[in-house]
């Protein structure tokens, strides 16, 4: 698996750490009912197809990225900086 980092170009996935599925909107966990906060922290859509994930390029530019990837094929379609995405 290789990820096209916006700063570093195409790099081996070995250089990155995954944080997991990115939510559609910025999660709100304060000032909302407990059930909503727990869901925002723990629930995952986990679709058998394309999804957006947070990856950290620890052995490269140290940026947090939003990676568009297919969970069925491991195909990576692209990555953008997570900063300012929400």
């Amino acid at each position: 698996m290789r990820i096209l980092c916006p700063y570093c170009g195409e790099r081996d996935a070995h250089e990155f750490s995954i944080r997991g599925e990115a939510p559609m909107t910025r999660p709100v966990v304060i000032g909302v009912p407990m059930a909503e906060a727990v869901a925002a922290l723990h629930d995952r859509r986990n679709p058998p197809g394309r999804t957006r994930e947070f990856w950290y390029h620890g052995a490269g530019c140290r940026s947090w990225l939003l990676v568009d990837r297919d969970l069925r094929t491991h195909e990576v379609f692209g990555a953008t900086l997570a900063s300012g995405a929400f």
């Binding site: 997991g20 407990m34 723990h42 629930d43 058998p48 969970l71």
Partner: protein
């Protein structure tokens, strides 16, 4: 028919021409009392215990491919009950006891081999942690023994005891741990369930769950619609997207875990062994191949295959523990899809949808749980109440704070 020494001798003498299929490949009927989605080890065990323990008669197991095609046929066949947390110790020890009587219960040779499991440790701190776990096990009535270096050396003289980074200081042994022939577990449960009237329906993928007025009433499959009074989801690895058909979003990520088999060698590793300084576990199959695995790859995946960095990491763990295997060639490696949960523990619970029940989130440890998961999930489906041994495996435990985090990793599914 029941298998016996007599039936084996008679069929051998007649050239094995008269064996009949072990179970019925059923056609779907329009309605059942209980429909179980997923014909893996857990689904088939659930069907068997529903029929046997609870007398439910109209049961269907619907499987998208063929039975035993998923995780029950892809795991590394290990059984053990060496857990620390009381909820897990109780559950997995019950599972171990069911394993011990399974061949008699099913009249099927599933090759339960209690060849022991040894968790090697490498430091004083790790010895303390393992001693604590062993003590917790013994308090709960589970067998556990703390071995020093000589104790480990007696069993496995070829380990790298004086490794510069990871010297071996001893190990925690569970003598009753071991391995089971995993495919036979699926076949044995299928045969026993089929004998009790359970319909096993293959090549029937569930593509929809019909919900009316907050109640699940039917599943739509590629072989037609099947109505049911109760529906159980038992599709670990694919729980998220099956549950999504009922509008549920669950705290589960699907991940890939890989396993490896080497070429066959003469008997070398008598039990199951785990390395303490990395994630590596190994046993030797009856055919002679070394069967081993390690960490999950760490990223979400439904692909059923992993990548080489983990293969390298697993091989490094093996070499640090037993350099003698370094010249063996790996014959095969494969991957399976597993449900990873925020605390590393499973769910056997009701769902917010009435008449829809969930057994899933087994992380990479579902195989050893097969009998107990089937037993307790059957209890839940039959009575609508959690079995006392599975009462802790609730869907809402992340909200109530009653998490069961065996490894103390925190709410990050891919770290368990």
């Amino acid at each position: 028919m029941r298998y016996s020494a007599l039936s084996l001798a008679w069929n051998a003498a007649t050239g094995h021409r008269f064996w009949k299929p072990a179970w019925r490949d059923a056609e779907p009927k329009p309605a059942y009392d209980v429909v179980i989605v997923g014909g893996g080890g857990h689904g088939l065990a659930t069907a068997f215990y529903l029929a046997k323990n609870h007398g439910v008669r109209r049961i269907a197991v619907v499987e998208k491919g063929w039975i035993g095609n998923g995780s029950v046929g892809r795991n590394t066949t290990i059984i053990r009950s060496n857990y620390l947390h009381p909820a897990n110790t109780r559950f997995y020890e019950f599972s171990m006891k069911l394993w011990e009587g399974l061949e008699q219960a099913l009249n099927y040779n599933v090759m339960v081999s209690q060849r022991s499991i040894l968790n090697v440790f490498h430091s004083d701190a790790q010895r303390d942690a393992y001693a604590r776990r062993g003590n917790a096990m013994r308090i709960a009535g589970v067998d556990a023994e703390l071995l020093d270096t000589d104790g480990v050396r007696k069993r496995y003289p070829f380990f790298d005891f004086d490794n510069a980074r990871f010297p071996i200081r001893g190990g925690l042994l569970q003598p009753r741990g071991g391995t089971v022939r995993h495919d036979a577990v699926a076949w044995g449960y299928a045969r026993a369930a089929s004998d009790l009237g359970v319909d096993i329906i293959q090549n029937a993928e569930v593509v929809g769950i019909d919900i009316q007025g907050g109640r699940a009433v039917a599943v739509e499959t590629t072989r037609g619609r099947i109505t049911a009074d109760r529906i159980g989801i038992s599709v670990a690895g694919h729980t998220s997207h099956v549950a999504a058909m009922a509008g549920l979003v669950l705290p589960i990520e699907s991940h890939v875990i890989q396993a490896f088999v080497t070429e066959a060698v003469k008997p070398l590793i008598s039990g199951v062994v785990t390395f303490g300084a990395g994630h590596f576990y190994i046993s030797q199959s009856d055919k002679g191949g070394l069967v081993f695995g390690g960490d999950i790859d760490g990223y979400g995946s439904y692909a059923g295959r992993g990548n080489l960095p983990v293969a390298e990491d697993v091989a490094e763990g093996g070499m640090a523990l037993m350099p003698a295997i370094g010249r063996l060639r790996i014959l095969r490696n494969w991957g399976g899809v597993v449900d990873m949960t925020p605390d590393g523990s499973p769910f056997i619970d009701l769902t917010p949808v009435q008449n829809l029940y969930l057994n899933g989130g087994w992380n990479y440890g579902g195989f050893k749980a097969t009998p107990a998961a089937g037993w307790t999930f059957a209890h839940l489906l039959a009575t609508g109440q959690s079995h006392e041994l599975a009462a802790a495996y609730r869907l809402d435990r992340h909200a109530t704070g009653r998490v069961i985090d065996e490894n103390g990793q925190g709410a990050q599914p891919n770290l368990h």
